[in-house]
């Protein structure tokens, strides 16, 4: 009597297939693009010149990078590792230094009236600056703002900024408004190398 080969039980192949599918779905990165998002200022209109003057001098935090990739906060040279803390200090201005950005009380929906800084961070670079350094500085400035927002949301809502819902995020953004402005191109220092 010849033995019959038993058929392979195939009812679980579908499960295995789904398992594999889930695995690949989880692990494949779709070549996601990451980066620092920015909004460029619109090209200035000749008739709108006056508005720029309104920003008080003390409210502008000027960060410059020269052609030799040296970083200046205001007029003092600074190392990139200290830049974030320096910017945070200037933006918050805890000692109400008259040379640092002013604050004004503002009614914010959902939080109440708080002191809001009027600081504007302006980043200037030279034509000879390396892109790498420029991105590193941009990153530090973004980090400074993000950390300030985190601190504010911890204080107001007891949660990190990213964990807040949309409405609260909007409120925090109003509370910590500093935007990094892409300054008009200006050659700071002589560009020795291009």
């Amino acid at each position: 009597m010849a033995k019959k080969t038993p058929a392979i039980n195939s009812s679980s192949t579908a499960d295995i297939a789904f398992l594999l599918l889930c695995y690949f779905l989880m692990t494949t990165t779709m070549g996601t693009q990451t980066g620092l998002s920015r909004r460029l200022p619109p090209m200035p209109d000749p008739s709108q010149k006056v508005e720029d003057m309104k920003v008080n001098r003390r409210n502008i935090i000027l960060v410059r990078i020269n052609s030799a990739d040296r970083i200046f906060a205001g007029s003092d040279p600074i190392d990139i590792s200290q830049l974030k803390d320096k910017v945070k200090l200037i933006v918050t201005n805890p000692a109400d230094n008259p040379n640092f950005p002013a604050k004004e009380p503002k009614e914010i929906k959902g939080i109440g009236t708080r002191e809001v800084t009027k600081a504007v961070i302006s980043l200037q670079n030279d034509r000879g600056t390396t892109y790498d350094v420029y991105i590193a500085v941009q990153n530090e400035l973004v980090k400074a703002v993000n950390e300030l927002r985190d601190e504010a949301s911890m204080k107001e809502f007891g949660k990190k900024f990213a964990a807040l819902d949309e409405e609260h995020q909007k409120a925090i953004k109003e509370l910590v408004p500093p935007q990094i402005s892409e300054a008009e191109p200006k050659d700071v220092g002589k560009s020795r190398r291009r």
Binding site: M1, A2, K4, T5, P6, A7, I8, S10, T13, A14, A17, F18, L20, L21, F24, L25, T28, M30, G31, T32, Q33, T34, G35, L36, S37, R38, R39, L40, P41, P42, M43, I65, N125, D126, R127, G128, T129, T130, Y131, D132, Y134, I135, A136, Q138, N139, V142, K143, N146, E182, P185, S191, R193, R194
Partner: protein, 154 residues
């Protein structure tokens, strides 16, 4: 009785094909997810700088890419090793950005044109002069949403 009858003829059992469709679908999904529709050939070397605060690009279908960097080795004899701008598949000048942006904008849906993001993928050794020129040109054609491509992490 029937037990003995059956064993007279020896036959191979057919492989169950019920799950074949599952496997095929799985493969299909996998490729659907991973393939990128149109990957332009890179003609410039782009080593993207890294930044810890980089965020994901939200609408990938609304992104436009401007590559900046030195030509790849194969093309250096022809184009030199100065940083060049690559739009779509060819080397272009600053002045071509205007047409490029206009064409890209036309290819997007009417309501979503304002959300178009220009993704600047520049090599980390490029000088800011080139980038500033690009930024000025983008401002002129009012493509104001930009993103500096950067890797996440250190």
């Amino acid at each position: 009785m029937s037990m003995f009858k059956k064993s007279e003829k020896k036959e191979m059992p057919g492989i169950a094909s019920g799950s074949l469709s599952d496997i095929v679908f799985m493969l299909l999904f996998f490729f659907m997810v991973t393939t990128q529709m149109r990957e332009t050939e890179n003609k410039v070397v782009v080593r993207i700088p890294s930044a810890t605060e980089s965020v994901k690009l939200e609408r990938k279908d609304l992104a436009t890419y401007i590559n900046v960097g030195a030509p790849i080795r194969r093309l250096q004899a022809q184009y030199g090793n100065e940083p060049r701008i690559q739009l779509n598949d060819s080397f272009r000048n600053i002045d071509d950005i205007r047409d490029f942006i206009a064409a890209e904008r036309d290819s997007k849906k009417e309501g979503e044109r304002a959300l178009m993001t220009v993704c600047i993928r520049a090599d980390q050794d490029v000088r800011m002069g080139t980038i500033t020129d690009i930024k000025q040109e983008l401002r002129r054609c009012s493509a104001l949403k930009i993103m500096y491509s950067a890797r996440k992490g250190q």
